[in-house]
Structures are given as structure tokens and as C-alpha cells.
């Protein structure tokens, strides 16, 4: 089971806002999925190393040298709002918050 409070907390962590009916359906759907995932508890994993990465996981090194790929103009092609060659976003620090 997963509670309504947990769903709202996880949504907050994930930067998602759920409508009331979405919260209800997530409580039921994610509850069922998490119940399914709970079956993992029955597997004895004592002393078993977790597999987080696949393939040859040796670290790759390369020369510390800058390379030119895209231009500034290209990088700006997809920017939704810009001004003076900068990406425009709404207020980051509200008035009073920085004091």
C-alpha cells in the first residue's frame, strides 16, 4: 500500500503537480504496482552485490581539451523564450526571500 500523503510527497520530489482525481488514481495504481514490487522481499539477497551498471564499466579518459560542437545560435534554436542572447525564465528569488 501507498498512502495519499506519500503520493503527494513523491510528486513534490519529482516536480509534478497532480490533480485531485490523478492523486486518487495514483494511490490505487501505484499501490498495486508497489505491491507487485514488494514480492522482491522474498528473494534472499544476503551477500549479493547489486548490479547498477552494465557492460565494461572501466572509466574512460580523454584529453582535457575543449572541442567546438554546436554554436551559440544553434543552442538557442530550441529555447522557448530568450532576451539579449540569454535564456529568459520567470522570477527565481521572490522579493524578500533573499534578505
Amino acid at each position: 500500500m501507498i498512502s495519499k500523503e506519500e503520493i503527494l510527497h513523491v510528486a513534490e520530489l519529482a516536480n509534478l503537480k497532480l490533480k485531485d482525481d490523478e492523486v486518487d488514481s495514483f494511490v490505487s495504481q501505484l499501490g498495486k504496482i508497489v505491491n507487485m514490487e514488494d514480492k522482491l522481499a522474498s528473494v534472499d539477497t544476503t551477500g549479493i552485490e547489486p548490479t547498477y551498471n552494465m557492460g565494461d564499466t572501466s572509466t574512460t579518459f580523454r584529453e582535457d581539451k575543449g572541442i567546438h560542437t554546436q554554436t551559440r545560435e544553434q543552442m538557442f534554436e530550441n529555447v522557448p523564450e530568450s532576451e539579449d542572447n540569454l535564456i529568459k525564465v520567470p522570477t527565481i528569488v521572490a522579493k524578500g526571500e533573499d534578505e
Partner: protein, 485 residues
Amino acid sequence: MNYLNETIDSLHKKLADKELTSKELTEQTLAGIKEKDEDISAFITVNDAATDVAKKVDTEGIKGNLSGIPIAFKDNIVSNGIKTTAASKILYNFMPVYSATVLEKLESAGAINIGKTNMDEFAMGSSTETSFFGNTHNPWNLDYVPGGSSGGSAAAVASGEVVAALGTDTGGSIRQPAAFNGIFGIKPTYGRVSRWGVIAFSSSLDQVGVMSKRVEDSATVLSTMAGHDYHDSTSSEKEVPDYRANLDKDMSGVKIAIPKEFWHEGADPEVIKQVNAAIDVYKKLGATVEEVSLPTLKHAVEVYYVLASSEASSNLQRYDGVRYGFRAKDVKNIKDLFVNSRSEGFGDEVKRRIMLGTFALSAGSYDAYFKKAAQVRTIFIQEMTKVLDKYDLIMGPSTTSAAFKIGAKIDDPLAMYMNDILTIPANLAGLPAASVPAGLANGMPVGLQIMAKPFNEQAIFNAAYALQEENKFYEKIPTALKGED
């Protein structure tokens, strides 16, 4: 152009003999897509500039096997100057400024990007129903799903719109739609193909692969696009064989393992019948077939949905409405911009996966879910490795049922997730795996799944080719295509 009776070799011959120019072929391909996509809707974006590219190929002269031949790309493979959406509203207007390595390599070989195919949003789904751009229809029955997430690529190939298409496979997204559409589809070994420029879903599982009617065509395409890439440190430096030239259908002495858990009770008996018949073909051809056991298979779906969702929740943090893609309107501050862009931009299934993953990674859940699943993954890999120490190939059904009706499972995520049980194992263990047509169950295609040791794609191509040459499934015409005989 109708590709139902063509192969890369037959097209190459026509181009090399100047019976046909690449420009003509490309124009005919575009016309074929336009006509067939009225029913199938396999494409999100058709590349109208393809004809100009073809003209250039004609001028420079037809060179290798792929030179001048149009190929389709799943819409999570970024293409310079051609809209790439991952079938999501959050990328509805995204115009890449570079191309994925797989696309670049195929273009260097003269192949032509004819367009971008429909898929489940961010490759999350098994039916192509989670796409922001609507459903794709199965060419064997338009009321049925093409499978997913590479459903558009599969339907485009099966309906004869293209000779081959690229897909991606995180938990079965190439093999399941290949099975549902009666075509061949291969997910190579983890690390065989560069993922630079492929929109990330689950980075320890994702791999790019090929789908085509004929086994030999996927062999040609994979040899061309595989190999190490400076931009992707997970890509292997192992040499890439010429899979096409090395095709060998001799099955004598090949040792095949069939895990009994793949024949589980929930499977459709008609599907099982076709798969058993395909395995009998290998016995007839001189292979030895023995039953084995993969006891941890019953936990594969659990492991997969914890790990894939966790990695997805991390990979999809980058979509915030700031630098590209959909940006929510009327927001007061930056937090609202992030939250509203994501909440309005992602579809239900993507939100579900992000929520699941964020939950599994959150304080208090990490050990019980994320770490636990990663440990069970280790046990499962050990089981698979043990089997492959003794056998050349593992075979079983690709799916537990044939294609289902559009709408049948979309409201039941858990039932949809269970679709993936037979394809997930190869992703968890990083193994190469393919689906090859085995026959029809109540008029819908069934796939035989073939897995092999890491980097032994050749063994898969050989076995699939052997079955193809016996059952000649490619001669069957999908039943919902109009005007075909």
C-alpha cells in the same frame, strides 16, 4: 514503393544496375507512406527533404549495400533538422541540432532518413497507445495494437512502407512489436551500438536495434551502425563482424536451451503451439534442444519496473521547460515553470514511471526497492550466464499472447507491464536477443525469441535465418493491407 517483396539486396541491385535511381525510390517510398499511413499511422514526421538527399546520393554514385535506400527511425533517435519528439508533448517542437551516431553512420553509408516513427511516449509502453500523437494500427488487423514501444517502426516495416527501421529496446520494445507485426527485430548486446543522440529512458537497459521483414536486412543494417563511439563510453570496442556475409543457416550441433518458465500457464495456447512448432524445426535441422530452469524469472518484472522507473525518473529530470521543448504559460516563478511544464508536458504513463522511480529512490525506500532490485538482477544474470555456459542459444516465445485490441489494456498498467515478462530477461542481463516470425495464432503473428551470449549476435542471425528459410513467413501479406494479393 511497396517493400513487401523487396530486400536491401534486391533494391541495391536495382540501384546499382540503374534500373531505378535513389530519387525515384525515395519518391515512391514517400508516396507509399502517404497512402498506407492513412490506415496505419506509423510515422510522426515524414522527411520531405529526403528526395533532395537521394538526388545527392545519385550524383555521388551508388556505393555500398545501403547506398540510396530509405530507412525509418524511431522518434527517440535525434535527427539534425528533423523534429524529434519521443512521442511526447514535452518535446512536441524539438528540433535537434545534431544527429545520433546510429543515424550518422547509416547516412554515411548512403542510407536515407525517410522519417520518424511513432512510439510510446519516451518508449514507456507496450502498445504505442501512450504516444501524444495518437495510435498506430497493426497491419494485420487495424483494430489491434502494433505493440510497443517501437510500434511505428514495426508497423512501417510490416506494411511495406520501408525495408527496415530502427527501434530501441529497454524491456522488449523491439522484440514485442516485431512479434506482433510478423517481422524480425533484434536488440543487440548492451554496448554493441552507440546510444549517443538516443533519448535516454533507462541507461543500464536501453539499446538501439533494427527491424526488418528479412533477417539478412537487419544483419546488414546492424553491421553498419554497430561499434565503438567516442561519444558513448558504454559502447564496446569489440570488433563488429559482417553479420550479413557470415550468415550460416547450418543448425547441426547447435545447443538450444528452453527455459520451462517461459512456457508459463498464462500464455495463449495458440502462441505456444506456433513456438513449439518453430522449435521442432530446429530439432529437424540437427540442433539439440533441452529444457532448463530460470527460477528467478518470476521476479523479472518486479526488478525491471523498479530499476527502469528509477533510472527514468533520473533521466527525465532534464525536462523542465527552460532550454527546449514545451514551456507552460502563466507561471509566477521558476518552480512553477518546472512543475507546470512537466505536469502539462508529460502523459499519464510517463508520470506513473517517474512517480514509481522517485518513490523507489526516495529516502526510506532505496534499500527495499532500488538496491534490492539491483541485487536480484545480479542473481538473475548469474542464472542466465550459467545456462549460456552450456548452451549456444536460449529460445522461447517472445510474448505470452499475440497482439491485443486497441484499448484493451491501457487502463490497467499492471496487466500492460506483465506483457514484458519474456522480453525483460535479455535487457536485465544485457544479452543480445531477437524475435523472428514463427507463425499465426488466430490470424495474428507470433514471434519466437532467440537469445545468445554477449556479442554473439551472429548466432542469433544464423538461427533466425535458418527458421526464416524453412517457414518463409515473409511471403505472408498482412491481412489488413488494402489492394495486396
